[in-house]
Symmetry: C2
Subunit: 600 residues, 2 copies
């Protein structure tokens, strides 16, 4: 965290100084970006855009206020890495349940009506991230995003109680999207009116009306899978009640049991089987008693005494996807309306993807919109949103199908006794959120020089590592300095004699955050010899920023850990933490060319 | 963090459910405990007492509102451990400057008018704590305590703008202390009135009027040491500007340079020499320009271009101490008024003790008052406050004197060229806050069985270590489960076959938090065989608490790390994290006897 550079800040430095035009209390008639829906996708997008105070952004949400309880709860390490950029990873880690192990229970071969534990595997055997895999109510995740937005320069707050009715993309050159809304609460209750927006992001969930308005359709299998989901306070003699478990009983019934934050609450996903998409939805009338009874039977011989059920629902979900995530039907037309999260893809509840992938959608579109709307980047950036995220969703569905059908397969039909456990361990990168690898595009370079830094695969998320900050010798996670401020990061890994190329020639400085990492131990780096571009001066007092120069240390050698060439390399990272480029130190022209394709 | 046990909590679980009688908005005429002064001592005491909702506590502070800037900034690891119990360690770590190294600069032997770096030592070479040594404005530390108090069951908030005028201990059996106050701000401005309190804690700083009222005197050397203290935003080519430095120049001038939170701000302690206690205080009129100029000269040949000075003061301080920290003059009388922090001891600024030791004072008296006032513990507890803390302050002064005189000794007069650096490293436990070792008393047992757990020295703070929680296999810091809730912790380290003695016979359960740690790896512990006392049920739903059973794991063996006997041991820890007792598993009678001496 850097602060006090414009003078002393009394109070919490997490509350950034307000900037940009003051935010009107009333929903204005014209906005740059309008987000529909305050779920994970919408709140992530909103939080990111709140960092662009020159861009007027509003978020409308039908609910009268914050989400109070329920829905998704699985948070992949990839999400926690993202939260780190939004400044709330640590607090969320403290509050959440941490998945450290996963247990597998199956019918005892001797006594099939009794379940027995067949495996206990570490959840993240490879240490794929410096952050853990967590479980926390979606409501709290949204709270944290809301807090970040409120503390951002734009002092953003969602407009609750406002319903999206429909939209039309008009010929208006400046604010082409006309959005019709209705106020459901507050002094304007019942009132309808129109808002004109430059861009609209529909994050309005699986029954998205924004999606409908742009004529996209969720398509997928014919059948949905139904789950009885309940958050319970219960007593049991089941010993793994506080460990994440996949439990299969002898008659095919199965449960995913997920301990929850706070040490007492537990979530049961009780499998209710396949239901036809256009059937009678009989399953929706499944009672809580039925679900509890079914859970009790599956847990046999262990007892289950449910004492309170703060939340439950019957959740029918199938793998569904739209063909594009925007309103572009002809090549070359520029998108004006985007859809994100459940509005464009839904997943089986089993892999716990919903909230996570939606957050990445929202973040992806938002930084692009931010850079375009504040006039720094080319509009063509916006086309990459659908291209990047639709593929991710498709891949997830492929994986989910495999996982879900495995989970539903009776034990005796699986290829081997530990097949399920092995599959889980083998494919851990996927559910943890790290298999996303964006294809080359205007934002992702061809991996021509990938061999200079194999530990930073182009198109994948930048995996942080320890370095020492030279100015104070302190070990820091290199990636954690980057915040969700819409800037790109350029990491210059210096050559054997401190060569750094000529980064000062890059241009577009306001959009970059440039750092250097020397391969020498920190004690051998003389700060006074470090090129001035890594010691920039700023703010009203023209003060030096001392936090951009790093080195290795006795315990931490990022060059070794991330296989960076000792000849040096430049690693370019996007505002959403994905590696965009790896180049030699001397490839200035190529790098400039890459950025000229993005920035104006 | 444990929550949801009484039903689902929507919103931040750090905000505890309100309990006890509602807090009157107006300062009431009668209170159980009255704290004077919202510095570190007062706020720590207040935060602790806010966890006793049945005890009515108020804090009066002369200032019209929160401290905005200035004063102490050094936070020892011992303080961060304490903050962990108050739930804000992590956030504070994120916000603060971390001292990782300390640099020493002295006149170049070749060219004495130039300073050169003579050493760079790790600040905590031995890893004395799981928490780091930090620098953060006192104002922010007070903010965090205030937030904790506001979120406590008592929903406590300081009464700002109220000045303590004097007190008298009367014959009133119930509320013997009459305190006279005056309102300096707000609707009652100018009004004087009296408050009757059961106990008063004077945390009103070095010029304490509470101290005066009870007739104690700060005594010490004849001379004070004067420092020009300034927080600056500056430009310099001094390469260690972001590392903590002790700098001595050829003419005896010296600086302690302390980088501050946020990456830009820096504090200079510029030595202004000794001044007589009852002199003309001429030094107080030293101008900022003089201090800046002196700092610039000492830094020669490096430049210093000060661009902004958000805070500065001339701080005269000497080693001063009162003979007792309460109002007891005759043996056997019971104390009614206590003094804490600078009110009873002041220290050289060099060792950065002021804020830290004051926090420990405040915490020490507050949990004792809490237990006595809510009727659980004997009043004789209160006598231990002065006995424990006066000795600590005396020891600190002895150490400070040695350190300060060393710092002031010209390089050529020191025993050897690296004497200063060596002394710093050798005595690190002291300034880090870990040398406190309370003597045997009703609260600290004689170390008869210390050999059962040499890693938990009786009288010293309980040093946390990693264990695995059996119910979910997750590694946790054993000590971090303990919060500043006024409860004692009893850690039962089980014997070779899981023997645990008979802890259920202890009594006083409401005041205890009982945990077991098995020496077996977590996979070998069968939760169903663990004695019920370690799986207590509570709350409206009578739910099992799953977080009290621990074990070792492949990476963490607390038995080895803390040298715990394989025969098992019981370790008793006080509410303020100090080890009170170590006993064999079978010593029930002794343990009960120990507690019978404390609890009613
Ligand atoms: C009832 C339910 C139960 C679920 N249970 C689970 C679960 O157990 N496990 C799991 O992993 N996932 C679950 N999910 C899915 C998970 O919550 C989603 O994947 C995730 O929330 C997707 O985020 P999102 O932002 O795309 O959409 P959502 O979180 O659905 O958010 C959409 C938002 O848009 C708002 N909105 C909708 N229409 C309008 C409109 N016309 N105007 C204004 N606002 C509108 C909604 O009120 C909502 O706040 C559940 C979802 C639902 C709805
Ligand atoms: C000006 C100044 C500069 C300092 N600089 C440094 C430094 O550079 N480095 C360092 O390590 N330490 C410094 N200290 C010391 C450090 O701040 C103290 O050691 C530490 O704050 C002690 O905490 P405390 O709670 O005992 O007292 P304090 O922090 O002094 O708090 C006492 C509180 O009591 C209030 N009070 C006083 N009288 C009354 C009354 N009659 N009625 C109601 N309220 C009253 C005061 O307003 C104050 O808020 C400085 C102290 C001061 C005053």
């Amino acid at each position: 965290m850097q602060f006090h550079d414009s003078g002393y800040v009394s109070g919490d430095p997490r509350v950034q100084p307000a900037a940009g035009p003051a935010r009107p209390v009333e929903l204005p008639d014209r906005v740059d970006a309008l987000i529909v829906g305050a779920g994970p996708a919408g709140m992530a997008a909103f939080a990111q855009l709140s960092q662009f105070p020159q861009v007027s952004t509003r978020l409308i949400e039908r609910r009268p206020g914050r989400l109070e309880i329920g829905q998704a709860d699985g948070l992949q390490a990839r999400s926690i890495e993202s939260f780190q950029a939004f400044g709330f990873a640590q607090r969320l880690v403290e509050e959440a349940y941490r998945i450290y192990s996963m247990a597998f229970w199956r019918p005892s071969p001797q006594e099939p009506t009794h379940i027995v534990r067949t495996g206990l595997v570490p959840d993240d055997p490879s240490g794929i991230s410096e952050f853990p895999h967590l479980i926390l109510n979606q409501a709290r995740v949204l709270d944290y995003f809301a807090e970040f937005a409120a503390h951002s320069p734009g002092r953003a707050a969602p407009d609750y109680g406002v319903e999206f009715l429909g939209l039309e993309v008009t010929g208006d050159a400046d604010h082409p999207v006309r959005v019709d809304v209705r106020h459901r609460t507050g002094p304007r209750q019942g009132e309808r009116h129109s808002i004109r927006a430059k861009y609209v992001v529909g994050c309005d969930g699986a029954r998205s009306r924004v999606r409908e308005a742009i004529g996209r359709r969720l398509v997928g299998q014919d059948a949905l899978h139904a789950w009885g989901v309940m958050d319970v306070l219960a007593e049991t003699d089941f010993p793994d009640f506080r460990t994440k478990c996949a439990i299969q009983s002898h008659d095919g019934g199965n449960i995913l049991l997920i301990p929850r934050e706070g040490g007492y609450l537990t979530r049961f996903y009780v499998d209710l089987g396949e239901v036809p998409e256009n059937g009678d939805h009989d399953v929706r009338s499944t009672s809580l008693e039925t679900i509890v009874a079914r859970a009790g039977r599956i847990l046999h011989p262990y007892s289950l005494d449910v004492r309170d059920v703060p939340w439950w629902s019957v959740y029918e979900v199938g793998h569904r996807l739209t063909d594009r995530f925007d309103d572009v039907y002809e090549r070359g037309r520029e998108p004006r309306v985007f859809i994100a999260g459940d509005a464009c893809h839904t997943h089986s509840a089993k892999a716990g993807q919903g909230m996570n992938v939606s957050i990445q959608d929202g973040w992806n579109i938002a930084w692009k919109l931010g850079l375009v709307l504040d006039g720094r980047a080319r509009k063509s950036l916006l086309g990459t949103y659908s291209a990047e995220r639709q593929v991710v969703a498709q891949n997830l569905i492929t994986f989910d199908q495999e996982w879900s059908s495995l989970m539903a397969t009776p034990a005796q039909n699986l290829p081997g006794p530990t097949y399920l456990e092995d599959f889980y361990v083998r494919t851990f990168e996927f559910p943890a959120g790290f298999m996303t690898r964006y294809e080359p595009s205007m934002l992702i370079a061809e991996p021509v020089y990938q061999s200079l830094a194999p530990g930073f695969p182009i198109g994948k998320r930048f995996r942080s590592a320890w370095v020492h900050r030279v100015s104070d010798t302190t070990p820091v996670q290199l990636g954690h300095h980057a915040r969700a401020d819409g800037r790109w990061r350029i990491y210059v890994f210096a050559g054997p004699h401190g060569e750094v190329g000529e980064p000062e020639k890059l241009g577009h400085q306001a959009s970059f955050d440039l750092k250097v990492i020397y391969q020498q131990p920190f004690g051998e780096v003389d700060l006074r010899r470090v090129p001035a571009v890594f010691r920039p001066r700023g703010g009203p007092f023209r003060l030096t920023d001392w936090e951009k120069v790093h080195a290795t240390g006795p315990e931490h050698d990022i060059f070794a850990e991330r296989e960076i060439s000792r000849d040096g390399a430049v690693v370019v990272v996007r505002p959403d933490q994905y590696v965009a480029h790896v180049l030699p130190l001397t490839a200035h022209d190529e790098l400039r060319h890459f950025f000229d394709g993005i920035f104006l």
